[in-house]
Amino acid sequence: MDLQTEAVKDLWKDVDRLGDLLHCFNCSTCLSGCPASYGDPPLLVRNLARKVLYGLEEELFEEDTPWACVSCSKCEEMCPMDVKPFELILHIRQWQSTNDETRVPPSITEIYRRGYTQAVATNDELRAELGLKPLPTINKNEEQLKLFQEMLMKTPVVAANDYMFG
């Protein structure tokens, strides 16, 4: 491929706001202990960093592997250059979500609606059986939930996709 026609020169500035990925010297340490690197296709943080650096916007846009990350932070523990690979993965996800609404994870609408991704505090009966009191969760407090929702609505991705939260 021809970099001059196909690459966005400063993509990394958009994707990695910390600039840490520039420290990467492709040593591969981030790869070998990563659970998701066992996947197919494997999650190869090193390669993602490289694509960001080259500015391979289209390819990066299509990358699904960042979403396979288990967030264990082992890459971060191991990276000798302090590139913070896990943060990089989150940044790529954010960049994708920001620029592609189909990437926006549906779970955020649930959080918006009820504060959690799970149906927390709907099992009061079971709790009572175990000797637990009902939990003072936000979905039981309309005022706070509203404040929470209003707050989220001021944040960029929620605001940009407000139709999802209607």
């Binding site: 706001r17 959690y116 929470f148």
Partner: protein, 299 residues
């Protein structure tokens, strides 16, 4: 000692027996737990942290502000909650601009984030503050005669300079010593420090490989240890390590993998003589053998 208990979502929604266990053991150990009223999602890494920094930190900030209001540190059991809250807090602490912005967003609530509350994992509190020795004193129903293995929550190990309460993330000892304090023998195996593989999108995006990944771990457990149980300290590990055993069994058509998995607080509660029906009730992997053993030893 007093903490704001942050339960996250899976524990109260799916495994309230774990919550019961935590409340029971902490009370016994003299730790007061305050409910974090109106807390929200930590947020899970697959949610706001994957969309934009601001919504992530706003959500983190929401939770942190609740604890700060009560001037307590936050006590977490779920590894993801621990990690997300911790990272959220750190980002806010390091990025003053962002902190300012989040506090603007929080303004209508009358709360703010100043960094007053720290995020504590239950293992850390048990290991560092309570100490295994003190725990051993509280044991009335020993696990003596049982072999167990431990699953460290990745999130409590890495990155070590930020989270590390272990002397060495290469050779973590906390969980092991805590389980040993209950009288059990803790076996080692080669993949001990490997992630359970349950968090994030691994299972979703490449289930086949994720199951194989877990299977390797269980094979190592079966081959290299005499494990009667697995002790975890993260709700994701707990659920995943139970579920995946059943999934594998289904795939291979035999009941080969059936090691019961406990949250550490569940084991601790049992050893304190708590009723299994309260603190160890919900599971899809039979635990009777362990419950019976404890009863037998105690008798």
């Amino acid at each position: 000692m007093e903490f704001c208990l942050f339960l996250g979502c899976n524990t109260p929604a799916v495994r309230p027996d774990v919550e019961r266990a935590i409340r029971a053991t902490m009370e016994e150990l003299g730790v007061d737990l305050i409910d974090t009223d109106n807390y929200v999602c930590c947020p899970a890494f697959g949610s706001f942290p994957s969309t934009d920094e601001e919504s992530w930190l706003a959500t983190s900030g929401w939770n942190l502000s609740l604890a700060e209001e009560k001037q307590r540190d936050i006590l977490v059991q779920c590894g993801s909650c621990y990690s997300s809250l911790r990272m959220g807090r750190e980002h806010l602490m390091h990025d003053k601009k962002m902190q300012k912005r989040i506090n603007e967003l929080l303004e209508p609530t009358g709360r703010s984030v100043q960094g007053g509350s720290k995020i504590r994992h239950v293992t850390e509190v048990l290991y560092r503050e309570i100490t295994p020795a003190k725990i051993a004193e509280k044991v009335t129903h020993s696990l003596e005669g049982l072999h167990g293995i431990v699953q460290y929550p990745c999130h409590t190990l890495f990155p070590s300079e930020v989270v590390g309460f272990e002397d060495s993330p290469r050779e973590p000892k906390g969980m092991r010593e805590l389980v040993e304090a209950l009288g059990a023998t803790v076996d080692s195996y080669s993949l001990e420090r490997q992630c359970c593989g349950g968090a994030g999108g691994f299972m979703k995006s490449t289930p086949e490989q994720a199951i194989q990944f877990a299977k390797n771990k269980f094979d190592a457990i079966l081959e290299e240890t005499k494990a009667d149980f697995i002790a975890v300290s993260c709700i994701t590990c707990l659920m995943h390590m139970e579920n995946v055993q059943n999934t594998i069994n289904k795939q291979i058509g035999e009941e080969k993998y059936k090691i019961p998995v406990f949250d550490y607080n569940q084991l601790l509660a049992l050893c304190m003589g708590k009723d299994p029906k309260e603190v160890s009730a919900i599971t899809n992997m039979p635990r009777d053998a362990i419950h019976d053993h404890i009863a037998k030893v105690a008798a």
